[in-house]
Symmetry: D2
Subunit: 347 residues, 4 copies
């Protein structure tokens, strides 16, 4: 194998950044990644302080972030597991310096101004932002691997968006869905999806023995789903819920087919679409995915149940929000960018 790639991670102390770091540390095509933090002194000096699960494996020093440091260290690829705003401000200069970026935030996912409004980026129509946006590719390898291979910047998809887009793309692209009837995704996520900040909403007592819906009609991931599936806003309802579990997403998706189909035809549509894709598993009816099945893996599991009328279809899709919904997908994108096996480092 050729010389190993030099990668860096900014934001390793968050949930997704930590999962990412663990994968990069054992990825056979990489040198030991450079771990960076935003400010001197914050979050301790070593990643094992934030995540004692790393204890005893040797040091994981966190170095203050600077683009100078990236260059000096010969970094080829930078992973950003940072807030949207920070990604928005850092990426232009990084990309100009020739370092490729995989950004786990929502900073560069959306092309439609109205969808992007939900993020409130102050710069959203600046010339610089437009230039970056023109080079960014939405990093869902099952849809865009050709573009990902050559992209200078990858906008890694949202966790909910991944679970919904993969479940719908095969049917929508084949024009099998009656959009006029409306599509619904009732999605449920574990708490790590809400991030590591301690808030009243993430307090154990608020979450345990509970379930709640939130962000109805206005969650930030809705725009990604619409853009990637080519849907109009009124054609998709997305309702996220907060589950009393640490991780995992299950989306229950309701569509009306545009004509009567058999379960075998639907299964065949999925299997053809995902032929040779390592990280999507299509379940044969009547088996449906459960969150546990894909936990701690990079799989997106998809199953379905068709009504007797051959028109009403319930699709169930599961991912681990921190892996296929974030860190695992980022590594999968890296594998595609550098022409490696899509599964490298992820098994």
């Amino acid at each position: 194998m050729a010389a190993k790639l030099k990668s860096a991670v900014l934001g390793a102390t968050g949930y997704a950044g930590f999962e990412l770091t663990r994968i990069l540390l054992r990825h056979p095509a990489l040198q030991k990644p450079l771990l960076m933090k935003r400010e001197t002194g914050s979050s301790g000096q070593d990643l094992a302080e934030a995540f004692p699960a790393l204890s005893g494996n040797g040091g994981y020093p966190l170095e203050p972030f600077s683009i100078e440091k990236l260059k000096q260290s010969g970094v080829d690829l930078l992973f950003l597991a940072t807030p949207h705003d920070l990604s928005r401000s850092l990426v232009p200069e990084i990309v100009r310096s020739g370092i490729r970026v995989i950004d786990l935030s929502g900073a560069w996912r959306l092309r439609t101004e109205s969808h992007r409004a939900v993020y409130g980026f102050e710069d959203y129509d600046s010339k610089v932002a437009h230039e970056v946006m023109d080079q960014a590719v939405y990093g869902l390898p099952e849809l865009h691997d050709a573009d990902i291979a050559g992209a200078p910047i990858i906008a890694n998809p949202g966790c909910y968006a991944t679970s919904v887009i993969l479940a719908l793309a095969p049917l929508v692209r084949a024009d099998l869905v009656d959009r006029s009837r409306g599509i619904i995704s009732d999605s449920k996520s574990g708490v790590s999806g809400a991030g590591k900040d301690a808030t009243p909403r993430t307090h154990f007592v608020s979450v345990a023995d509970n379930l709640s819906a939130y962000g109805v009609f206005k969650h930030r991931h809705l725009g990604e789903m619409l853009e990637q599936l080519g849907l109009a806003p009124e054609e998709l309802i997305f309702t996220p819920h907060l589950l009393p579990i640490p991780r995992g997403i299950l989306s229950t998706i309701y569509v009306h087919l545009s004509h009567t189909m058999t379960a075998a035809e639907i299964e065949s549509c999925y299997r053809k679409f995902f032929a040779n894709r390592r990280w999507v598993r299509v379940f044969s009816p009547p088996r449906l995915p459960e969150i546990q099945y894909s936990l701690h893996s990079n799989f997106c599991d998809i199953g379905f149940c068709l009504a007797d009328d051959g028109r009403r279809l319930v699709i169930v899709s599961c991912i681990d929000n921190l892996l296929k919904g974030a860190a695992g997908q980022a590594v999968q994108n890296m594998n595609v960018m550098y022409g490696w096996n899509e599964a490298e480092g992820l098994q």
Copy 2:
């Protein structure tokens, strides 16, 4: 107050039967209830053996069930927290003997033969069964209190059915829903809804850190929803899910309104429908119910979110499946049957 009522419970060792017994024990209009079990020797001799939470409050002896014993003890009202088949075989003779019955099972809830088929009752077209069925009233007080008052037998609703029917009845009865677009209830329940039997599906390790859909298009509670709401089978999709919590149900319900409405009009519709009903709470937008809010209470909480188009509506409904979804509702039905305050014993 007049002489206190004599009640009996068959099936107090199940989850719903136990909750019911706890309420009956403190209900001010009742004598100490007679607790009965099906077979001599089974389930121990005292309810506190099955539920040590009752320890130290004095004895709760379980006596072998017989209709003779009911008569000798002067029982006025029998609660059945028993399997469907047993209710089906016991109720005809009990009702003939003049004892009123509140049956928590699904034995007498369904009038439509095709809906009832899912239970596979062997007797379902027998003359005796028809006679009982003619006297049975579906025990949802918010819809049927006039009929409940005089009924010899109450078919206590299913837990999922309660959460869905109460959330939809105000809109459906006012003809505000475009049924041709289809209604969807994506419902999630805690594990006590699956009963006390130890099965691979109720094993802690199977449920914890998980979420799963089941019974898509064919759950037994679907028939109740259709009958009570006057819907055709193709007009409602109901998808239950198993949550990693002991108790509580949240239903997320999707409807298209038949004409454009405001949130205020929808709230008003709900408030009028449930005016003076003690056990339904209507939430004003943007607040939505969560499972914790109604836990350990007899409330059904209902909230909603209306899309900007004034047509697409997401309703969220929560209950405690063992209370408003079973034991609490049974007591509420008793209160209506005997003309007592609907909240008696339930606060």
Copy 3:
């Protein structure tokens, strides 16, 4: 019954304060309690905003706290569910004004200076503080009911302390324990014991699927245990652990008996000590308490297992930390203070 008592609660928006308020609202000897908050504007204007479980039962307005307001409203008894420091600063003036106080904080529990040091009260040797301390009674009714009856101020015990003291007092007071061998309490608590503040430690993802020990040898409740049991510091090790559940405490306590005993003798010792005490349940071997049994009740459950040698004894004690460990015990203290049935309002 005589004229109803007027009570007030400062701190109703915390976990213990909320449980307390719920009990006071249904207590038959009380007027509707006055709910107070520390600062204008904080925590909303109504308790139902902080705890939507209260929705729909009518208003629970929170009024700004002042001693003037207490007097104007004719408050007889004030419950403090406040931080230790605030209790420390407020109580002297309140007590001088003739209003009785039940303080759920740790402000007045400890008589020994060295034990109190852990709280770091700045005023701890002030004359005013000494005067209050002289009037304060440690509010464990099973030990001190005679003193509680007439006390102007009750120091409501800590949750861990309650579970440990009740389990040990019968044996220690009868001099049945070989103190030279050391006593150990390995205690485990649900997260509500850590309070409602959102911290990294109470984040759902930190607690779920986890268990951790903390505060070994130096938890603040250790002093209460030593004082109430009359033990020297080296005679008791107390190790608290954080359980992935919302509420409940289980203490596993290890003692060496000072002479060989039978299980029957030990059970008899417990039963005599707690004869006629409504809120302690002694379990007969081999049955041991579990957290679920006393959840949502004011019981302290105590069971034990004696080794074949008749000397080594393992005691298991369970309480609901928010009830017998806080709010329920506060109400029990009130019942004793006013000569009411110890169980009033708590069933």
Copy 4:
């Protein structure tokens, strides 16, 4: 590398057997393992039916077990993840046939007749059983790696025993513990430790929001601890508890030191004992292990807290009961048996 080893697993459908199979499948020194089941037709035909997490990775056929089949397939090493009794009856013939065995059950762990009595093996004093027992080595590599290397049969330790023995061995072997004062291990385990059988005790509703002690003074793992640590029965109390989590063990262990020590001396004792041991992590005070830190890893984490008197010591030890407590340790034993890196396949 030399020709790859041929392994087989009997009992892959249990929790530990499944974890074991997952590790063996990716172990670089092994051929694909032969997966076997006890009876034709039971547990399905493929492991992915019992554990859908394996779906889509190709087939994992389960073949009926027979010693003939083991020989025909050229199996070098058989893992038994079977009930104790079955291991007891199968192992003699397997060992005679020259196939090495790693037995995850308790069948061959105990040399002391009185300790073994708890298992009730019918054959326990048979000549055949004695012959096997003479060849069996207790498979705790940190204590016995020299013997493990050449052993025909490895008795893989119990999960609780692993967590307790590793935490105590360094101190006990250095004679630093005052045994006359008694040692206590208060241990807490996730539910997978109770096995996959659906019982009232493993029902989700029984475990969630609960904690319970069980098997006080008489758990089967106590004998292993006594034998391996060279303790008399009265010198160790072991109290297991059932935690509301799927996996993980935390043991809180209390000892009196035989003379006054400093924390630095204790840490040094641990570090020397475990020098060069890949799978034990010693934590420096004041940091203590938590269950999450070692979850999904083969680590045993050990930390401690010393009282000011330098004599009373609280040790906290954590493992993943399915890995270091079962499957991971079995693989570690295999690595030692064949002279491979102790960490092979386990990272």
